[in-house]
Amino acid sequence: MSPLAALLSPAHLLAANGLVLPHVNYTAIMPELILLGGMLLLLGISAVSPRHLPTQVYATATAGIGIASLIASLVLWHDVQKGGPFSAVARAVDIDGFATLVLVLCSCVVILGAFFAAGFLEREQVQGVEYYALALISASGAMLMGSANDLILVFLGLEILSIPLYVMAGLDQRRAASGEAAMKYFLLGAFSSAVFVYGIALTYGATGSTNLASIGSFLAQNVVVSNGVLLGGLALLLVGFGFKVAAVPFHMWTPDVYAGSPTPAVGFMAAVAKIGAFGALLRVLFSTFPTLRTSWQPILWALAILTLLLGALVAVVQRDVKRMLAYSSINHAGFILLGVQAGTSRGAEASLYYLFVYSVLVLGTFGVVAVVGGRGDEGHGIERYRGLAHRRPLLAGSMAVLLLAQAGAPFTTGFFSKLYVIEASIAAHSYALATVAMLSAAIATFFYLRLVFAMFGERAGRQASVAVPVAPAGAGAPGGAAGQFPPVGTLPAGPAVASAAGVLTLERAAGLVDPGRAEAAAVADDDAGPVVADADLQVSPWVWVGLALCVGTTVVLGIWPSPLVDFARHATLLF
C-alpha cells in the first residue's frame, strides 16, 4: 500500500475508478480557509489598487478576517461541544475541543496582532500589505498544526507557520539587525525542520503510518520490541517542537531574533509559534504517544528545568528590554512545558490556559515595547522606560499590568496560569520540577519588577540622558568590550550623541555585531543615528484598542477566571 493510500484511509473515501478521493469537509477547515482566502484577497486588492492604500485599510481588513475566522472557530467549538469531536478531510484533520481552542486562539492573535501592527507600521511609514498577508498565512499554519491529525500535515503547518515568520523577522529593511534576525531564524529553523522531518520518517518507519490516530492505536495494540527507531523518531519530533517553542537548548535563536525583528512582529511570532507548536506537541504526545509516556516525560522534565532556569537567569542580566522579554518568553515556555510534562488532562488544561494567557500578554507587552521603542524601533534599552509613568501614565500603567501578569501577580490571568501549571505538575508528582518552576518565577519577578520600577520610579532627566548610562550588555561582545565604552556614559550628551550611544549599546546588547567589527562600529558611529525623542512616543488609537483588549482580558479574567478556565477545561476533549 502506498503512503498516499495509507493517508487516505478507505473508510472516509469515495472510490472512483480505482482512485480514492478524499471527502473534504470544508466547514472543518473554514477558519484556515478564511484566513488564506482573505490573505489572497488582500494581496489582490493591493496589487490592483492604483495607489498605495494606507496601512489602516489593511489592518481593518485583517482584523475583519480575524473576526470572521473567530466566528467560524466558535461555530466549530459549538459543534464540538454539542456533537462531539469529529475527524475530517480523510482523517488528516481532527476537529475536537483542543483544535478549536487553537483555532479560536489563533484568530484572536490575528486580530490583536493587526491592531498592534497598524500602529507600528503607521508610525514607521511602512506601506504595503506584506505584513498582514504574512501574519494571516502564519496564523493559518498554526491553526493547521493545532488541528492536524497527521504528521505530514503537522509538518506542513509547521512550515506554513514558520516561513512567513522568517520573512516578518526581516521585514524592517532599514535595520541590519532585522535582516540578521531573519537569516538566523531561517537557518536554524530550516535545520530544525530537517530534524523534525527525520523524526517523522523514523516514526513512519517504526509504525507504518503518519496518521496520529493510527500510530496511537498501533502502539496501543502492539508492543514494539526493538523500539530504537520509534524512540529516535519521537526524540527528533520533540527536538523540532522544542525549537519552535524555544525550549532550552533549542532556544538560541530566540534572543537574537526577538531583538532584531520589528517589535510587533515579535509579539505576533512569540504568540503564534507557541500556539501552533504547543498545540501540535500536546496532540502528538497525548493522543499518539501516551504509551511512551515513560520515555518522553523525562525528556520534557529536563527540557522544562533547563528552560525555566536559563530563561529566568539570563533575563536578569539583560539591559535591552526586547532581549529581556525574549528570555522571559523562554521562561514562559518552560512553564507551559510543565503542564505538558505532567502528562495528564489537567496538565493539558493548564497548558492550554497558560497558552491563552501568554499569547495575550506577550502581544500586549510587545505592543507597548513597540511604542516606547520610538521611531526607528531602536529605543529598547531599559533606560527608555525610566520615568515613563510620569510621561505616559496610561501606557506605563498598561505595561505594568501586563508585566505583573507575566510575573504572576494575583488578580491577573498570569497568576492563575502559573498556579494551574504548577498545580498540575504537583498532581503528577513532579515535585522537583514544580519547585524549580516556583524558584524561576521568583527570579523572573525580579526583572519584571525592575522594569515596573523603572517606569514608576525615578523621573527621566532630559531626553539626552536617556540612552547614556548603559553598561554594554553585549552577549556578542567579548568581555573586554565593557572597557571600551565607559567614555560614552560621561559624554556631555546632545541628542545625537546620546542616541548614537544608545544604538551602539543596543547593537552590542543584541549580540549582533561580531566582535571584530565592534570597534569599527564604535569609531564610525559618531555621526547622527536615528534620533529617538520623547515626542515619538505617540500611541496610535489602534494600539490603544489592542492594549485595552489585552489589559482588559488580563484583569477581568484575572478576577473572574472561570470562563477561561472552563474554556480550557472543555478544550481537553481530545478526539
Binding site: A16, L36, G44, H52, Q173, R174, D527, P530
Partner: protein, 152 residues
C-alpha cells in the same frame, strides 16, 4: 530484507550513473592526447583574454525572476499529473486545481504589481520605506539606495 527489494532499481540506477561517469572520465584520460597550451588553459576558449574577474554582484532581480520561474515550474509539476488522471478526479479535482491555480495567480498578480517583472530603471516601488538618513543602525556599510544621496 524483502521490503528493500523495490529499491533495487534505484540502486541499479546509481551504479549505472556512477559507472558511466567513471567510464567517460577514464576513457578521456586514457584515450585523448594531452598537449596543453596557454590558450587552451584559459577560462574561456574564445580567444579573448579576460581583463578582470567576472563581477560578483548580480542584480537581485535575477533571483526574483528565477524564483517566479520556480513557482510556475511547480505549478506545472502539479498540473501534469492532474491532467493525466483528470477523468478520474472529476469535479473534485477540478475544484482543487482551480483553487490552486487561483492562489498561484493571485501571487503572480501581486508580484507583477510589485514590479517583479519590470526590467530596467526602477519605475515604481511598491513598499515605500522612509529611509533614515546616514547609515543603518547595525551596519557600517552604507546601504545602496537607502541614503538620500544615492536614491534612485
Amino acid at each position: 530484507m524483502g521490503s528493500l527489494d523495490s529499491y533495487l532499481p534505484i540502486l541499479f540506477l546509481f551504479v549505472l550513473a556512477f559507472g558511466f561517469t567513471a567510464f567517460s572520465l577514464a576513457a578521456s584520460k586514457l584515450l585523448a592526447p594531452q598537449r596543453p597550451t596557454a590558450a587552451k588553459e584559459a577560462p574561456y576558449e574564445c580567444g579573448i583574454v579576460p581583463s578582470h574577474e567576472p563581477p560578483q554582484r548580480f542584480p537581485v532581480r535575477f533571483y526574483l525572476v528565477s524564483m517566479i520561474f520556480v513557482i510556475f515550474d511547480i505549478e506545472v509539476i502539479f498540473l501534469f499529473p492532474w491532467a493525466v488522471v483528470y477523468g478520474q478526479l472529476g469535479r473534485f479535482g477540478l475544484v482543487e486545481i482551480i483553487v490552486f491555480a487561483a492562489a498561484v495567480f493571485f501571487s503572480f498578480v501581486y508580484l507583477v504589481s510589485n514590479g517583479a517583472l519590470d526590467w530596467g530603471p526602477l519605475k515604481r516601488v511598491q513598499r515605500v520605506v522612509r529611509p533614515i538618513g546616514g547609515r543603518t543602525s547595525q551596519s557600517t556599510v552604507r546601504r545602496i539606495g537607502s541614503s538620500s544621496d544615492e536614491a534612485a
